[in-house]
């Protein structure tokens, strides 16, 4: 249980289900309802992987990830969204630390695969 996944989603169904799912494969997990809650917690530096909802109230998931990257906190993120058609957001989310962009509802394997991938994630273009 040395690896930790942080889930940030404002929807309680999503939060609770992902927490249970990730924990069932023996990966540590912390859930947050908003970007602000995540930033204010003790975990921003400890999380090995971020699962971020794109349309969070206030700071969006994309903005949170960008923020972390800007702070040199490189952590792989996978984005989840309920809006399949929002191509603009999909392109916005794209970065070297972006592992996946999943549209709800996704299968549990898709997510777990993405999480596993994220935990082993090495950017294609290393940064310093």
């Amino acid at each position: 249980m040395d690896r930790l996944v942080a889930v940030v989603d404002d929807d309680i169904s999503v939060r609770e289900s992902l927490e249970s799912l990730i924990r069932s494969v023996r990966i540590g997990v912390r859930v947050f309802a908003s970007a602000e809650e995540f930033l204010n917690s003790a975990h921003p530096r400890e999380a090995d992987c971020l699962v971020l909802d794109v349309h969070l109230p206030g700071m969006t998931g994309i903005e949170l990830h960008r923020h972390l990257l800007a702070l040199n906190r490189t952590v792989p993120a996978l984005f989840i969204t309920a809006h399949s058609s929002d191509e603009h957001a999909r392109s916005e989310a794209r970065s070297e630390w972006t592992v996946a962009y999943l549209t709800k509802p996704f299968s549990e394997d898709e997510l777990l695969d993405a999480v596993h991938a994220a935990l082993k994630w090495k950017p294609k273009t290393p940064t310093d």
Binding site: L18, S20, I80, S84
Partner: protein, 1177 residues
Amino acid sequence: MPLTTRSGFVGVRRRTSVVAALGTCLAYGLLLTTPVHALDPNTRLTQYTHTSWRMQDGSAPSGMYSIAQTADGFLWFLSSRGEIYRFDGVRFRPWRKPADAESIGRIRNLVGDQAGGLWALGAQGVAHLKDDVVSGHVVLDGLMPNPQNVSIDADGSIWVVRGANGTSEPLCHVTEQTVECFGKADGIPITPLDALLADGNGGFWLGGQTALVHWRAGVSETYPLEGVVANGAPGILSLARGPDGSIWVGVFSEGAGHGLARLEGGAVRSFVTPTFDGSKLHVFALRFDHDGNLWVGTDSNGILRVRGNVVDRYARAEGLSGSYVRAFYEDRERSVWAATNDGIDKFHDPRVTSFTVAEGLSSDSAVGLLASRDGTIWVANSDSLDHIVGGSVTSVRWPGQQVSSLLEDRRGNLWVGANDGLYLLKDGRFRRLSEPNRQPLGLIFGLIEDTDGNVWAHCFCGGTGKLLRIRDFEVQEEFSAPQVPGGRLAPDAQAGIWIGGRTGDLMLFRHGVLNRIPTGSHDNPFPNQVVAQPDGSVLAAFDDGLVGLRQGATQRMTTRNGLPCGGILSFVQNGDKRWWLNTQCGVVEFPDSELQRWWADPEAIIRIRVHDVLDGARPSARPPFNSAASSPDGRVWFVNSGVVQMLDPARLSRPALPAQTYIEAIVVDRKELPATHDLELSPHPRDLEIDYTSPSFLIPQKVRFRYRLDPVDRDWRDADTRRQAFYTDLAPGRYSFRVMACNSDGVWNDSATTLEFAVAPAFYQTLWFRALCAALSFALLGAAYRLRIRHLQRESRKLRDVVETIPAIVFEAGPDGSGAFANRRWLEYTGSSQRQHGEFAPEDRAWRESTCIHPGDLDGYVSCWRRAIATGQPFELELRLRRADGEYRWFLARHVPLRDEQGRTLKWFGTATDIEDQKQAEQERERLRQLEADLAHINRVSLMGELAASIAHEVNQPLTGVVSNGGACLRWLAGDAPNLEEAREAAGRIVRDGKRAGEVIARIRALTRRTVVSRGSLDLNESIREVLALVGDQAKRNNVMIRTPFADDLSPVLGDQVQVQQVVLNLVMNAIEAMSGVGDRARELVITTSNVDQEQVQVTVEDSGVGLDPTTVQKAFEAFYTTKPGGMGMGLSICRSILQSHGGRLWATARDGSGTLFHFTLPKCDDGKSATGVTGA
């Protein structure tokens, strides 16, 4: 018989006054009694009840001259003017002289006979009257107006004397038809004659101007009057025979042997006593009454009454109506009547006789009395002691002052308590009792002697009340309150004394022991008198009744037991065991048997006889001491109002005559009719008065009446003393009036007097008049009927014109639908030539064809028609009728039955109105409604389309949860050590999230459904929240902040949830849309709800968008107006129509700064206001 000598007894002119007699006869001694008046208490003139009717005060119609009584009880008075009045004790009724009585001239005398008839003696003749009709009359002149000088024979004929000068035959015997006169030839020595008296043996005493003559069978004796009668003076005017046979002569001139005289020793001599001189009078009338008193009527001196040697006077000063007394009459009730020049006077023996100053009492301040065993009545008076012995009131020389108590002890000694001590009359002299300690005994209130011979006195001596026991004329013991209080004293029959104390208690003081028994008297608890009976019972008189104490128990006799009032001043039992209660309203008398009955039953109604003020009683308010006594002769004595009053039971036992009632007249509308039998009254009497009476003269105020008129009265009506009965508006018919009366003893005579009469019907109440009225009514009715028929025919023609020209098809049919007949419009429309239809035959092809009804509608019509015929109920139906050109048009057919009073159908009426145009218009409207509904639906669906992304988001969230939880669950279950707890939790979340997704779907479906409008109570806040749940993501993506400051107490509204939510959705979507271009300010959507007033709820949707200019605001609600590039422009228009159909409204206002406010209202929901309808919206 010798001629009378002219000598005679010379009257002694000596009248000794009372005072003189008192003075001269006063002998000095230890005790002297002075006779003041010899008095027979039964006959003393001043003690009579005197009533007078005077001309001056209007109670008598005239001065009277003659009195008679007929057998029916009425008194008849002849006035000095010759008028006759009938008198019933209350009213003088003028008697109309019958026409055939005119010949007797002015009536001068009136005599009643035994048979109930009346002789009227006139100046020219004599008439006999019976029942107001002259039964016979004779011509006879020379009769003079000198009443009483008529003698009636046993056969009813009369003897009269003629007083006119020149009459040769002065004595006449008159029957109804004959007259026979006697004169000198018959041995009558003098003429004319003025007085007549039958001697009882067939002879007569006759009085003339100069002599008294006895004449019998042609033989006469003459007794000349002494002296000379003045020329022209009448001489002897009246004669009377006393009970002892003495002949009394009334001479109308003064002088020796004149005036009041009697035949004495063969000569007519004036009646003279030491105190009276009869020769000084002009005597007009003489009469002996039943008791043997001689009544003398004088000219100017009033009445004298002679009994033995005692002469009483009664003149104007005493209250006589006049000074000149013309006649006396003693009626059947033994009242003596006097006719005077100014009225009438009546004297009768009162039941309660008073002794006053007039009878010799020293003053009218008597305070107590004692009846001693020798018959003497001792009267304690103010500063004097009087006594009544053998009817004489005597004043006693008495050394003390105010007498305050009296006692006769067993040895016959008289004890007199006074305010200055106690005196004893012993051996003819008063002795003052020696006083202990030389202190005056003071005021003695009460004196009694007990069975042991002790005399007890209640005194107020030495400044305090004391009870003294005296024996051997010495005070032995003194007792004071509170040990032994004083009070009313009475000896007990066994031993000791009773004391009635001030507290209302009765106390027995015997052998030094005081036993106290309360009586419960509160009014004035000091008893007025206490008497202990030999049987051990005690009676005490109180202001609120008589209290009896027997065997330790008390009972009370009050007004509830029939006493006329409660205040009993004193009481006594007399020799014949009757009780006499002197009360504040008269003397109450009842036998001992009634007292015994009361002892047995304290509630018993006592049968009593009351002697009240009308009987002569003079009740006091307060009792003096010892105010009741019974003398050995059985008479009872009371002190009342300062005088002594006496009742003689022997005289009281004479009952009053039974009351006889007579009906005097019927007064119809102020016209008096004689009360003859079978009287026929004129029609419609408005006011009917029946006058009735009962002649009674003793106490007419006590005569009461009852009457009834059959068939008007159901029962007897109490008229009390009223002597008229009144009725109004009697209907035609026969009536029977009955009346009865009670006499002055209160005894009713149950045999009523009856008067039958009839009221004739008025012309309008007669049969022939009613028949005529009926005939006239029929004739009028006939004429009216004919007029009505003509009118109806006109109306009918008018109506037919209306029916024929009315723009509708009209028909009538029989109750079974047959024989239908249509108007001209039918012919014009259908082109049919047939107005009349035959049988109702729906199966018949020809019939079906003849109806011109569209085949598609015909069966429906026939079935409606059949049901209507069966049930008699009207119906209406829309159907198509074929026009003459073959085109079908829609008609509204209505069938209405005409029913009779029993509800049976007599006829059917039908109309068919062309509604084709309305029908088409309605279909058009229906199409439009459908279009509108479709549009609304489209609007909703397109709104949903706009929301699709938002909705997808709403659904995807829970779906993500479901899938992820499912995966988790499977993983928790897999492996060697499945974590069931985690799996269970995950499974639980799957269920929750699945439901959540389902709810979203259901909401969408509800909003897009074509649905039945279902109005009901709606929580608007909740409805808005549901809408916001759908648009939440849409707002988020547009960076729109939604605030919902809802009113917490928002009233529920009446509305359809889907439609209302559609409006909200429209407005919210518009608002989000309006803010899409806003970048310089917060995108804010505020939804406010509020209870705007009692009736409505208001919702405001506020955005901070670009806003609408005023012209756009108006246009915004028009259909097809839109500012959106892809919009249809239907949204607001639909919203407005939805709200209007809800009874609400929708409008927009500009927001301060920028933005728009959309407001809508909805009516609040009342219970029972919900409704359901079908619409496509």
